[in-house]
Symmetry: C2
DNA sequence: CAAGTGGGTTGCCAAAAGGAACGGTCCGGA
DNA sequence: TCCGGACCGTTCCTTTTGGCAACCCACTTG
C-alpha cells in the first residue's frame, strides 16, 4: 500500500515533520504558497496535480495548522488558503532543500527559482547557524543523540553520531 | 499511481531535490545513515519498512549519488551503504526538519532525538545564516524570484514574494 | 549436516495517485 | 435571457506503489 507508512511510531521530530509535509506534492504546495499562491485553481495550474489530490492536501495542511482557510466569497462558498505562522516557519526547510538542489542537481545551470537575501543583495547561500552562540555550524559539530532513556524500536546504535563532516 | 508525480518538469531546485529524496521513507533512511546505520538489516529493523521498498530506496539513492555502496564481503556479495559528500550535504535539510518538528509537533515534550551543537554544548536551535554577509536571515528578508526569462507552466505570479515574515 | 544470518527478489492485495467528467454558483457578454 | 466560462470542488475509474509474507541463495556457526 502506499503511505500508510507508519513513520509515526518513531517518536522523532524528523519523522513527525514528514508525517505532516512528507506526502507527495505537499511541499510544492507550500512552496507556491510562499510565492503568493492561495487558491485552488492556481495550484492546480502550476503543479498539474490531480484535483482530488490537491483537495486532500489542502485539507490535511489545514488540519495540521500549516494553512488557514479564509472564506473570500460566500455563495458560492470559496476559500483561499494562507500560510499560518507555523507554515511560515517551514521557510527554513524550503531554503535548505533549494540550496541542496541548486548545488547538487542543477550545477550552475539555471534552476528556475532563485532566493535572494535582500539585505545584502546576493543570492542566498544558506548556512546553519546556532541560535545560542550565533556561530556557523559545521556538520561535524552537530551530534545526533538519542534523547534520554527512550526505548525506541531498533536501538542498534550505541554511540552518538556526528552529522556530516563539512 | 502515486508518485509518477512529475515534479520534474518544474525546473525548480526544490522540486528537483524532492525528486531525489521525496519518496516515502527516503529521508528516514538518510537520517539513520547519519546515525551510523549502513546495512540493510539495520534499516529494516529500525524503520519497519517493507524489504522491497527499502531495496528500491537504497538503489535509487545510490543512483543519485547520495549513498555509496561498499562491498564488505565478496561471496556472498554483501555491501553496506555510506553517505557520500553529496549525501552529507543533506544534513542541513534534516536539521531544519528536526527543528520544525521539535517546535511545532512536539511542543516541549521529548522528541526522541536531540541535536546538540558540540562547540557550545547547547541543544541546537538552528537558524539560517547568509553565506555572504554572515547575518542571520529572517524570513522576510528572503525574496523568492522566478529566475530570468524562464517560461514556466503556470506563470501566474507577476511579482516576487517574500518568504515568511519572521 | 542442520539451523541461523544477511541481503535481497517475487507475488499478491490494498491504498493512494492520475485523470477525466460532472455539479453547482456566480459573472459577463450577445 | 440565454450561453459560455471561471472557480472550486467531488465522484468514479484506472494505474502504480507500498505493505506484507514467502522464498532464495550463500555462507557460517553449532
Amino acid at each position: 500500500m502506499g503511505r500508510t507508512a507508519d513513520y509515526s511510531k518513531q517518536s522523532c521530530s524528523i519523522a513527525a515533520t514528514l508525517e505532516v509535509i512528507g506526502d507527495p506534492w505537499t511541499l510544492l504546495v507550500i512552496r507556491d504558497a510562499f510565492q503568493g499562491v492561495s487558491r485552488f485553481e492556481q495550484w492546480q495550474d502550476r503543479l498539474g496535480v490531480a484535483r482530488n489530490v490537491l483537495a486532500a492536501r489542502l485539507k490535511t495542511l489545514v488540519q495540521h495548522g500549516v494553512l488557514e482557510p479564509r472564506l473570500y466569497s460566500e455563495r458560492p462558498p470559496r476559500n483561499e488558503y494562507v500560510l499560518t505562522a507555523k507554515g511560515k516557519d517551514l521557510s527554513a526547510v524550503l531554503v535548505t532543500l533549494h540550496a541542496w538542489g541548486a548545488k547538487h542537481v542543477y550545477g550552475d545551470t539555471d534552476s528556475g527559482i532563485d532566493l535572494v537575501h535582500k539585505t545584502c543583495g546576493h543570492s542566498l547561500d544558506p548556512r546553519i547557524a546556532c541560535g545560542h552562540c550565533s556561530e556557523i555550524v559545521k556538520g561535524r559539530d552537530i551530534v545526533m543523540t538519542r534523547a534520554a532513556n527512550r526505548p525506541t524500536v531498533g536501538d542498534v546504535m550505541p554511540r552518538d553520531a556526528a552529522v556530516g563532516e563539512d
